[in-house]
């Protein structure tokens, strides 16, 4: 008997049954369903593609309805766009619908941003008019990096360094974009931003990449879907409800002299979009009917017939089966993500929402557990195909090509008991069998969560796909009460929270689903975007500017006004850093508020305003605070630990030990400690150093900087700065108000911004070299600097209360040998539990061998399906930029 078998036996004797799959190896996991396997084979061949069907119809109907009430005009445009999309159905899929006719499709939103296309119109047209290369060339050149189209070839033009668009559609792109010249959200907000006193400062800040991007780039997302209304009423039922509400409210202010009259228009808009969503579903039913009519294979024909039946039903009626319900949630999801450029439109607690449907089917014998898993595998592929067309900087530099459609599991139900459902076990199982980047899974860990569920989740994490990640349910609830209490959130609603985007804690509520003869309180999102405030300020870069008196030496430009202060103490440096942060947040917040205000006035959410409570109840859209909770807008930071380590080194080397003057330290930083910069070497990993002739001059100071106390070693000398920073930022962010008139709060995720923001930052006092990637997350140790083990990092990370902010992000890398077998699963869960019990909010794992990653970097074609966890999301290795690849490779790897 092996040790693991003995342990199992012992546990069994004591009444603790381990789930069957807690001890499984990769080889034991059943293959994904055959249809899914075929779809994934196709997926790996696909190019990210932009086409113009949606923008064309949106633009046409928008322009033709000039003069109509704006929310109705937008609803008409969106309904026309959705209902004119060419439906694509692949032979093997059981769930259908896409963003566009292409499988990994996306499209530009010129009504949000058109300036790039208008500025490049001539260049784009030249490319469109250029003769194609030889036919052989046209079909033989393959874009590098998985599905990314990073270069133009043949009849395909690369845009945003990610998508291919066919040449014949370029004139359409240019013509549609011209319609929005001067009146896109981007240009309108720019016009008014010029009235803000610090406009030039804001422009300088953006030019120096102190801040990553503007709010209009992705105005929605980082929030949680709510599927209640369509699941309860179906599209026809919603249309009927709209008619009733229109009759009740049209022409009636009912005591509200400002927005009372707008309710009638809102319901007309909601009726319009519900009709559009219904027609969109009908189109798929018709296409499935046609495909069935030409199909000779009986099995595939049956599949098409089933799709036709499902789509025809949900085009009008509330779902009556698990499959119909799941398909309807997909329809809603695609409807919302087609409203604006979006990332982080999260699914929420789907396994709890759909459990009543699964229960009924199971009881009636119309579905088996295996069939449900198969559908959930198909669901994974559908969500993985969601792409976002934004600028190259946002798509690559921030998102790494991911769209962060997060699915949360666990947590508590409305009654305060474990919310885990049988369907959630199957969702994890589907994630183990069908390994795709999306939806990423998040466990809302609570002490009430069943042990076998946690073990199942840990078994999945061990497989190395980076999911599920682990979040602390109680810390999340506490943040909800702290942040949304002033808006009236009670404990029951706090229990409905989950993740929007990769790690944006988002407010929710429970609604009573009347199905199968009983009421089930299902959770869902209850607010607008829990993002879209100030987008990723590089904290180390701000420190650099403090030390250079506001001068960005990389681009040789004065970015911030000189403070002209003698920096004769660490306190002086910290105070000037806070002063600069105040300046930065103040001007960025005003401009971003304008961007989002103009967005909500000219591009109000439509589908999302139908779905999110309490919009429909109040007759008010999401942009006008129709959602139940609106204190959602955040300030996003990047490079926390890189910044803290630099402070720690300054403290030690300059002010405590007085080994160097500040001038000597700054001189060493400016000269990159005598090494070549990553701009020169093309390597962004902090461990790669190539000396210049100056190296000996800086050898000692570099040594002392590298050896200064670092965060992540349970060393208060370094960790004190995290406590200081969190306390300062708690107060600082709350001094500023969003366009909803609510205080900001801090979001501490790096996504992929630690790559580009590290790129623009010179060497720092902790010995990090110029241009190398920042530390990831917000409480991950800087790679290679955590010497005292995982529990020391936990000690360091929890020197402050994590529930004061929207999140705190920790990434850990484990060698697969560290978590092998049942004991390894238990060990992994123990690690998670230890961190949660200390009050840590989030931890996620890469269970991967760094040697393999190096090999994959050298031979990407051999690793098309390799996935890694970056910072809050999982992505295909070959679709990630090199700086982030370098950073993931260099993360400290724990072997035991």
């Amino acid at each position: 008997m092996t040790n693991e078998e003995k342990l199992n036996e012992l546990l069994k004797q004591r009444g603790i049954e381990m789930p069957d799959n807690a001890n499984i190896s990769v080889e034991d996991i059943p293959n994904q369903a055959e249809g899914c396997s075929r779809l994934m084979d196709i997926y790996y061949m696909l190019k990210n593609t932009v086409d113009m069907e949606y923008p064309y119809w949106y633009n046409r109907v928008w322009q033709q309805n000039s003069g109509d009430i704006l929310i109705v005009r937008r609803a008409k445009a969106m309904a026309a766009a959705l209902s004119h999309l060419t439906p694509t159905i692949l032979p093997y899929e059981k769930l259908v619908m896409n963003k566009t006719r292409n499988v990994r499709g996306a499209f530009p939103f010129p009504w949000v941003t058109a300036s790039f296309f208008n500025a490049q119109a001539d260049a784009l047209m030249s490319e469109a008019d250029a003769p194609a290369e030889s036919e052989a060339d046209a079909v033989s050149i393959v874009g590098a990096g998985g599905g990314n189209v990073t270069k133009s070839y043949g009849n395909i033009i690369s845009i945003a360094k990610k998508f291919g668009i066919r040449k014949e559609e370029i004139p359409v792109l240019v013509k549609v974009s011209k319609s929005w010249k001067g009146n896109s959200v981007e240009e309108m907000s720019q016009r008014y931003a010029q009235y803000t006193p610090q406009y030039k400062l804001e422009q300088d800040i953006m030019d120096s990449v102190l801040c990553m991007f503007d709010s209009y780039c992705i105005p929605q997302g980082r929030e949680v879907m709510n599927y209640y209304l369509p699941l309860q009423y179906g599209w026809d039922g919603i249309i009927e409800l709209c008619d009733k509400r229109i009759a009740e409210t049209m022409g009636e202010a009912q005591g509200d002299g400002i927005l009372g009259m707008s309710r009638g228009y809102y319901y007309v808009a909601m009726k319009t979009i519900a009709q559009g969503m219904s027609r969109w579903c009908e189109n798929y039913a018709r296409r499935a009917h046609y495909l069935a009519s030409i199909e000779s294979d009986p099995a595939i024909r049956k599949n098409y017939e089933e799709i036709e039946a499902v789509m025809a039903h949900i085009a009008h009626h509330a779902p009556q089966s698990f499959r119909q319900a799941l398909q309807l949630t997909l329809c809603c999801h695609f409807g919302v993500v087609n409203e604006d450029p979006q990332s982080g439109q999260s699914i929420g607690r789907l396994g709890q929402v759909l459990q009543p449907f699964y229960d009924k089917d199971l009881r009636e014998g119309t579905i088996s557990e295996e069939e449900a898993i198969e559908l959930l595998e198909f669901y994974r592929i559908k969500i993985t195909c969601i792409e976002c067309f934004a600028s190259a900087g946002v798509t690559g530099g921030v998102l790494s090509g991911n769209t962060f459609n997060n699915l949360s599991l666990g947590g508590l139900n409305r009654d305060g008991l474990s919310a885990v459902t049988p369907l959630e076990y199957l969702i994890i199982e589907a994630g183990m069998r069908c390994r795709t980047t999306q939806p990423t899974l998040s466990i809302l860990y609570d002490e009430k969560t069943p042990e076998d569920f946690l073990m199942k989740a840990a078994s999945c994490t061990k497989l190395g796909m980076g999911y599920p990640a682990w979040m602390n349910n109680q810390v999340g609830m506490n943040f909800m009460m702290l942040n949304y209490g002033p808006e009236g959130m009670n404990l029951q609603d706090a229990r409905a929270w989950c993740l929007g985007g990769c790690l944006e804690s988002s407010p929710g509520c429970f609604l009573p689903l009347n199905y199968d003869g009983k009421i089930t309180w299902i959770p869902g999102g209850a607010g607008p975007t829990a993002g879209s405030g100030v987008h990723f300020v590089g904290l180390p870069k701000v420190l650099e500017l403090v030390l250079t008196n506001g001068m960005d030496c990389r681009i040789n430009r004065q970015i911030l006004p000189p403070h002209n202060r003698a920096l004769d103490s660490l306190q002086a440096i910290q105070e000037e850093w806070v002063n600069y942060m105040n300046l930065i947040i103040d001007c960025l917040n005003k401009v971003n508020n304008l961007q989002m205000d103009i967005w909500r006035k000219y591009c109000p959410p439509i589908v999302n305003s139908l779905l999110k409570p309490d919009c429909f109840t109040n007759g008010r859209d999401l942009g006008m605070m129709g959602g139940r909770y609106n204190a959602t807008i955040n300030f996003e930071s990047c490079g926390t630990v890189t910044f803290l380590n630099a402070l720690s080194s300054l403290n030690k080397n300059v002010f405590v030990d007085k080994k160097y003057s500040l001038d000597q330290m700054v001189d060493a930083m400016m000269h990159n400690f005598g090494f070549k910069t990553s701009y020169e070497t093309g390597v962004f990993s902090p461990d790669f150093r190539e000396a210049t002739p100056d190296a000996p001059k800086y050898e000692q100071i570099f040594f002392d900087c590298i050896n200064a106390p670092k965060f992540g070693n349970a060393d208060w000398e370094a960790d004190q700065f995290l406590k200081w920073y969190e306390d300062v930022m708690f107060d600082l962010t709350r001094q500023y108000q969003s366009y909803y008139g609510k205080p900001l709060y801090m979001c501490q995720i790096s996504v992929s911004t630690h790559g580009p923001q590290g790129f623009v930052t010179l060497a720092d006092a902790a010995g990090r070299l110029a241009g190398t990637t920042y530390s990831d997350g917000s409480v991950s140790a800087a790679a290679g600097t955590d010497k005292n083990g995982i529990y020391a990092i936990f000690e360091s990370a929890t020197v402050y209360d994590h529930s004061t902010q929207q999140n705190a992000q920790m990434n850990l890398k484990l060698h697969p040998s560290a978590v092998r077998g049942l004991q390894g699963t238990r060990k992994l869960l123990d690690i998670v539990r230890a961190y949660m019990r200390k009050g840590g909010f989030h931890v996620q794992f890469n269970v991967v061998d760094s040697k393999m990653l190096r090999n994959a970097q050298a031979h990407p074609d051999n690793y098309r399906d390799l996935m890694v966890r970056v910072a809050g999301f999982t992505q295909y290795w070959c679709e990630i930029g090199k700086p982030i690849q370098d950073e993931v490779i260099y993360r400290t790897e724990y072997e035991n």
Partner: protein, 87 residues
């Protein structure tokens, strides 16, 4: 006649699609992009009776709706309520 203009063409991406009959991947351009004998013309604006006056970029006029407007010839029309195949 190309695969991409056939009703049995399933869109995949900017360089290829799938034939619903043979289940094979078919290119949009170059060798192998020509349709087979089972070609059925797909509804697109360029083959609609309401499409007229295309320019050198195949942008023409759509007169199928109450308000005429510009349209591009390769726009899919399978879901258009006023599409009528130009014989």
């Amino acid at each position: 006649m190309k695969h991409i203009d056939c009703q049995n063409y399933i869109y995949l991406d900017c360089e290829k699609g799938m034939c619903a009959l043979s289940k094979t991947i078919v290119p949009i351009d170059g060798n192998g992009s020509e349709a087979c004998s089972r070609f059925v013309r797909a509804p697109k604006c360029s083959c609609c009776v309401h499409f007229s006056n295309p320019d050198s970029h195949n942008l023409g006029t759509c007169s199928g709706f109450e308000k005429p407007d510009w349209v591009y010839g390769s726009c899919g029309a399978e879901t258009c309520e006023h599409f009528k195949m130009n014989k």
